[in-house]
């Protein structure tokens, strides 16, 4: 991380785009492609202003053809370029998963380490705005389950820029999954934490290192992405009620920083994992396994988790908020651990 002086408050979307733009200035091999990444600036703002600065040769609008253009990103990366490719909604993975899983993620391994695929595949995740079952999923656990791709999940503007720069410089394929509700978009309800201090200079945030977003002594919340913002809100509120919550922001699922998780859980002895992805066979179970494999005796209270209860994301507001990990549910779960 470079030393830095000038900070301004910017949105997560702007921070991401700035990270991409600075890498494009530094390295002519970096270019962007995807649906509506050009003049539109990305539906969720991930390429804001890049088209104006770099033009259509380096910020390329693609046909609605995810197998075609993600595969083209892979081919370009194999030949030494550094494409940043956007899959508009992560829910669209179904039409291009062969390129993602069987090609992007496997080529390096299949080639015995002889072929590198230095590519970023960024995609919008998450719900909370009634976009229903096919436009609201997180799915990071699905990608993290499949070997060969790093999976990055920023929760705030500072990390969004630093992790983007790290992802572009990484010689491996990186899934960069940002949460729509954390982008700081003017047209969607946002947590104030979606706007934050971001240095103007380029800097990196290491991939594979979790952050202790807030220190505490009673309960550890292990979480990621937008749920970090909710968890910090809860932690601040519970502080006033005498409950000291530590919030661990994983920042990446692959690699997973088990050390920071275990250190925090070892300290508090109580853990809640909050995940906006589906509950079963996913991140919450993985963290439980990490703890169990290390020392189940470190828990004073049984392991607790809050995730989408294995249903597709429903449309109507009461239904959707019935399954998302809201502040209210996080608060209740923490209080249960303290009871």
């Amino acid at each position: 991380m470079s030393t830095t002086t000038e900070s301004r408050r910017v949105t997560t979307a702007k921070a991401m785009a700035e990270g991409i733009g600075q890498e494009m200035q530094r390295d002519p091999n970096v270019f962007v492609m995807g649906e509506d990444v050009g003049a539109y600036g990305g539906i969720f703002g991930s390429t804001t202003d890049l088209f104006g600065e770099f033009g259509p040769d380096r910020v390329i609008d693609t046909p609605i053809s995810e197998t075609g253009f993600i595969g083209a990103g892979i081919g370009a990366a194999v030949e030494g370029l550094r494409p940043v490719v956007e899959l508009m909604f992560v829910d669209f993975y179904g039409v291009c998963m062969d390129q993602i899983s069987n090609h992007m993620a496997k080529i390096h391994y299949e080639s015995g380490g002889n072929v590198k695929v230095p590519m970023v595949l960024m995609s919008a995740t998450g719900g909370g705005y009634s976009d229903a079952a096919q436009h609201s999923q997180c799915l990071w656990g699905t990608f993290a389950h499949l070997p060969g791709m790093k999976v990055v999940v920023p929760s705030n503007p500072y990390d969004a820029k630093g992790l983007m720069i790290s992802a572009i410089r990484d010689d491996n394929p990186v899934m960069y999954l940002f949460h729509k509700g954390g982008q700081g978009l003017v047209w969607m309800e946002k947590n104030p934490r979606s706007i934050g201090e971001v240095p103007e200079e380029p800097y990196t945030v290491p991939i594979g290192k979790a952050a202790v977003a807030k220190e505490g002594t009673d309960v550890t919340i292990v979480t990621l992405s937008l749920s970090v913002q909710h968890s910090l809100d809860v932690a601040e509120q519970l502080e006033g009620e005498g409950i000291s919550v530590e919030v661990v922001d994983l920042r990446s699922l692959v690699p997973l920083d088990t050390e920071t998780v275990l250190e925090s859980v070892g300290k508090t002895g109580r853990v809640l994992v909050v995940d906006e992805d589906y509950k079963s066979f996913g991140l919450t179970g993985e963290i439980a396994a990490v703890i169990a494999e290390n020392d189940p005796g470190m828990l004073k209270k049984p392991f607790s988790r809050l995730a989408v209860p294995d249903v597709p994301i429903p449309y109507a507001r009461p239904l959707e908020y019935g399954v998302l990990p809201t502040r209210e549910k996080i608060t209740a779960a923490v209080k249960d651990l303290m009871a």
Partner: protein, 324 residues
């Protein structure tokens, strides 16, 4: 096309055929009496390209250093014709540490970055990757081209159509080569594909499409030459479909009971046919035929020996190379 071109193509076809014939022999050698796909020195599926040599040889005759190929699950003919090292490729097929991919890929996943050669076991999914390689060549300002190979069965995949569209929209230097061997495993073309020719499908995307009949290596050479020149000149993608021949089964162990035209297969073998036509022209003597065969035998035997004498990887090696 010169006499030298013809001889070189004949030599390359014989070399590939000898390779496939010996791999077939080796593959089956230690799988009996109870045939077990996972047994023996060469385990797993094996898709051999005998009969399809004209497709690879006609195209690769025009390729130069830096040109890329993405091949499908049946890749040996394109690999060898494109200059992939026979020893390393064979060692990979034998799952050895000295293999192209240190034993991690196997016969359907051969990667040779020095020759920009790769393959994918998922049909048609190499086409988008070739488009990306072509995009890289275009962006770097080189005159290199990318060749994307798929069978006629694969041309019904979305990836085929997405790739043709993308290549056409972006004017990419890519040549789509469709090997129509009449059979998508056991399903005949008539049951799988609407329309007579994939060359006609190319016109739907506004790019040139040519169909080469009769598994004719010289016609393939001409068609590929025109398509590759066009791509090098920045004039965009083309498609060539060759009506070729799957001389053997889809994979080794395929009894081909579904195949009604099986009894005429050997008459349609392109290599004796080409030898006869070259002899008629006076371009090939009996001595040359014998010399070319002997040369191929020696090279292939040496490659198999290299593979067999190479060390196997260890179980611990399986954990390496997930990430760079």
């Amino acid at each position: 096309m010169t006499e030298l071109d013809r001889l070189a193509m004949y030599r390359q076809m014989v070399r590939i055929r000898q390779y496939e014939a010996r791999i077939m022999q080796e593959y089956h050698a230690d799988k009996s009496p109870a045939w077990d796909i996972g047994a023996g020195l060469i385990p797993g599926e094996m898709h051999l390209s005998a009969g399809q040599e004209p497709a690879a040889v006609g195209v690769c005759a025009h390729l130069k250093k830096g040109d890329a190929i993405t091949a499908p699950h049946r890749p040996h003919h394109f690999a060898l014709a494109h200059g992939v090292d026979m020893n390393k490729m064979t060692a990979e097929i034998y799952g050895r540490e000295t293999g192209l991919c240190r034993g991690k890929g196997g016969h359907m996943h051969l990667f040779d970055p020095d020759n920009h050669f790769s393959c994918s076991g998922i049909i048609a999914q190499g086409l988008p990757v070739a488009c990306g390689q072509a995009l890289a060549f275009q962006r770097k300002g080189t005159d290199n081209v990318a060749v994307a190979v798929a069978g006629e069965g694969a041309a019904n995949q979305g990836a085929f159509h997405e790739s043709l569209n993308l290549a056409a929209v972006w004017n990419l230097p890519v040549i789509f080569v469709i090997e129509d061997n009449d059979w998508a495993i056991s399903v005949p073309r008539s049951a799988s594909t609407a329309g007579v020719s994939n060359a006609d499908r190319a016109s739907g995307y506004g790019i040139p499409g040519v169909r080469v009949e009769d598994n004719d290596v010289e016609a393939m050479f001409e068609a590929a030459g025109a398509a590759i020149d066009r791509a090098r000149a920045g004039e965009g993608p083309s498609l060539i479909e060759i009506h070729t021949l799957r001389l053997w089964g889809h994979f080794e162990g395929d009894a081909q009971a579904y195949r009604s035209e099986l009894e005429t297969v050997n008459e349609r073998d392109p290599i004796p046919k080409y030898a006869a036509s070259l002899q008629e022209l006076g371009d090939l003597t009996d001595d040359q035929i014998a010399d070319i065969q002997a040369e191929a035998d020696a090279e292939v035997d040496a490659a198999i020996e290299f593979a067999k004498s190479s060390p196997e990887p260890t179980a611990e090696d399986a954990l390496l190379h997930v990430f760079a």
